[in-house]
Amino acid sequence: MKKSSSQSALWNRLLIATVLLLLFAGTIGLATVWLRHRVSEVAAANQKAQARISELDRRIAEVNSQVAAGLSPDVLLRQNTRLRLGLTAPRDNQIVRVDEEVEIRLAAKRNAELYTTSVVPASFPVSTPR
């Protein structure tokens, strides 16, 4: 028995719909895969950056401990001797103690300079009676 043309058309539509559905599903799938790939790329980049930060933190800690060791009084004294710098702590008689408020003194000095500036003589034309 021959199918009617309307039946064939229905099947065709169904087929087209199925193909479109498959294409749609495929696109969704591909998009999902792409998104996941991007997620993994970003995650890997984050991980790499995190690892780099940790590495830098470790290097900073290493340098900090080296600096701290280099600044310990014993090491500085040895350096002083090795480099023949002759650095010594100041003696009491070398110290000048400033008891007054330095800021106020400096401010007063500055103000004095501002207000006691010598007056520049100026001449103005004066009208005289004819």
């Binding site: 043309s5 058309a9 099947w11 933190d57 470790r58 800690a61 401990s65 009084p73 702590a89 103690r97």
Partner: protein, 608 residues
């Protein structure tokens, strides 16, 4: 209607194929996700899931100026898997040996040994049979630095790899060793600040649940739960590295000059109780703690007690002045060998030099044992005991770690007939260096006993203050007026007229007291072994620094008695002179105290 492009039979076939494919997929999904779900999930979990621990970094210990006293750094334990080594990499071994600081033959011995003989565990094997076992790990160096490790990795030698671990380092070596404490190889804090403040220092390790690929690399996109690590807080101490260095340098001098059994120096701000420097001899290097005997690791400033000798005279003198039983000019006959006290005759201790009538000021300045006994008897046993307790003797000062002991101060009911005459001169009482230091600081601080302050604050990694430790008053012991009077008397004791002349600093009023006591050896007071001490502060009118120097069994090169004025007072002077420019301590403006003193040069050794 248009005719379709496919025949109906083809469509049926296609639909059938698609249907079958879908059924197949569904069946597989049911099989995987339902029927074998538990088994497969367990397998995947085992093979791919992993929990990665993110180690927290331990906080640093800093001094008051921010200098690092203890810090953590990562080091690499470097090793090799001999099974993985390649022939073509052997040319790089000399460079590797150079980076590791070992000889090439030494490295080759480690790397070329690929098998180890191991006893066969099978029950069928005869006893003692050994079979070769492949070696998968040979340790090459435990402490490779990050920068060196980077260079090693650049050599690209297959089979050489390292495991990272944090190690505690103490940049100052033995600086403040007894205060800082250390972390042992098992990462357990053993003593000092490291142990006491471990809760703040250690931080909280983080972790994350993740998956790994076939090469055991983490697949970051599959991270599920992630708890970040919280690094430990930094602890800021009241110690000052420079002051600490001065103190340790001085204690080294004492050790070199007098070869004592032990010595302790404490420097603090008497107004706040903040400790600026504290050192003991013998000491040890924190980076090599395993080479130091346990005995050396004790902070003897709080764990060991000694009879304080004449420095204890401040208790009786302060007590009688505070209770207004005497004035500084009240005189006592110190020539008498015994007196009647509470209806019974009491023998008085001897003084090194015969004294006649001495005023209270003279008793303190000349350090008269008999005079001190008179003062205590004037005060009465119970009241004298109460003052001793009030000054902090017989109880812990509150120094937070190191196993502080309370010392020994018996209640009056446990005293014998001699105690009231011997305790005032610092016998029959056991004190720690810390107790003596804070008792003297009480006089410097206008009569208020402070609690030792060693921790200044706790900060997070961004230097924000988490907790701050404030100076803490324990109690008022004597009035401000009495404290001022006592300071005046102690200025004379530390002058050319007193026993502590060697502690005097030109241009500054030093208040202090020497102490020399015989050690008890086999139950008897030794004539040869003494504990010499000097406890004082300056400037007397505006105290900024309190210093205690205690030398246990110092041996003078000349063979004489190690008086406190000889072995300890000069150290006070040297430390004080170095602190003046550093702390900006201003010289005294006032004239010298007018109290007349005799010509005593040494404190009196107490003869029981």
């Amino acid at each position: 209607m248009r005719k379709g492009f496919a025949s109906s039979s083809r469509l049926v076939v296609l639909a059938g194929v698609l249907f079958l494919a879908l059924v197949g997929i569904c069946a597989r999904l049911v099989d995987l996700h339902w029927l074998r779900s538990a088994e497969l999930t367990a397998f995947v979990d085992k093979a791919r899931k992993q929990i990665i621990v993110d180690q927290a970094r331990r906080g640093d210990i800093l001094d008051i100026r921010g200098n690092r006293l203890a810090t953590s750094r990562s080091l690499i334990e470097l090793g090799a898997d001999p099974q993985m080594l390649r022939k073509e990499d052997e040319a790089k071994w000399p460079e590797l040996a150079k980076l590791l600081g070992i000889s090439q033959p030494q490295l080759e011995i480690s790397l070329r040994r690929r098998f180890a003989l191991e006893a066969v565990a099978s029950p069928d094997a005869p006893d003692g049979e050994r079979a070769p076992r492949p070696i998968r790990w040979v340790k090459l160096n435990e402490e490779v630095e990050e920068s060196t490790y980077e260079r090693i990795l650049k050599l690209n030698i297959k089979g050489i790899y390292g495991n990272r671990h944090y190690r505690r380092v103490y940049p100052g070596g033995q600086l403040a060793a007894h205060i800082l404490g250390y972390i042992n190889k098992e990462a357990t804090p053993v003593t000092g600040v490291e142990r006491h403040l471990d809760f703040y220092l250690r931080g909280q390790s983080g972790w994350r649940e993740s998956e790994r690929d076939g090469l055991r690399r983490e697949l970051a996109q599959f991270r599920t739960r992630e708890i970040p690590a919280a690094d430990g807080f930094d602890v800021v101490l009241t110690l000052d590295t420079f002051v600490q260095h001065i103190v340790e340098e001085e204690i080294e001098k004492i050790a070199k000059n007098f070869r004592p059994d032990s010595a302790t120096i404490i420097v603090s701000n008497p107004l706040t109780g903040a400790i600026l420097g504290i050192a003991n001899y013998p000491t040890f290097d924190l980076n090599h703690y395993n080479k130091a005997p346990i005995d050396v690791q004790r902070n003897i400033a709080v764990t060991d007690m000694f009879e304080p000798g004449s420095t204890f005279k401040i208790v009786a003198a302060s007590g009688v002045l505070e209770d207004q039983l005497v004035s500084t000019s009240t005189a006592f006959d110190c020539s008498l060998a015994s007196v009647i006290y509470e209806g019974k005759p009491r023998s008085l201790p001897r003084d090194s030099h015969a004294n006649g009538v001495l005023s209270v000021a003279d008793i303190v300045g000349k350090s008269s044992n008999r005079g001190a006994a008179h003062l205590a008897m004037r005060l009465g046993s119970q009241r004298f005991y109460e003052y001793a307790r009030a000054f902090g003797f017989g109880e812990q000062t509150g120094f937070p770690f190191g196993g502080e002991i309370p010392g020994m101060l018996h209640p009056v009911r446990a005293w014998d007939g001699l105690t009231i005459t011997r305790m005032p001169m610092g016998h029959a009482v056991g004190v720690t260096a810390m107790q003596m230091h804070y008792a003297m600081s009480t006089v410097a601080n206008g009569g208020i006993l402070m609690r030792p302050l060693i921790v200044s604050e706790i900060r997070d990694r961004d230097a924000r203050t988490i907790a701050q430790c404030q100076p803490m008053q324990v109690r008022r012991v004597i009035s401000k007026e009495t404290a001022t009077t006592m300071a005046r008397l102690l200025v004379n004791a530390a002058s050319a007229d007193g026993t502590g002349e060697n502690a005097s600093i030109a241009g500054y009023e030093v208040a202090g007291k020497t102490g020399t006591t015989q050690k008890i050896i086999n139950g008897r007071y030794s004539e040869r072994q003494h504990v010499g001490s000097f406890v004082g502060f300056f400037p007397a009118r505006r105290p900024q620094v309190a210093i205690t120097v205690i030398v246990d069994n110092g041996r003078l090169p000349t063979g004489g008695t190690a008086y406190g004025g000889t072995v300890a007072a000069p150290s006070f002077k040297r430390i004080g002179e170095q602190l003046i420019p550093y702390l900006g301590i201003l010289p005294a403006q006032a004239n010298k105290s007018a109290i007349a003193m005799g010509d005593a040069k040494h404190d009196r050794i107490s003869h029981p």
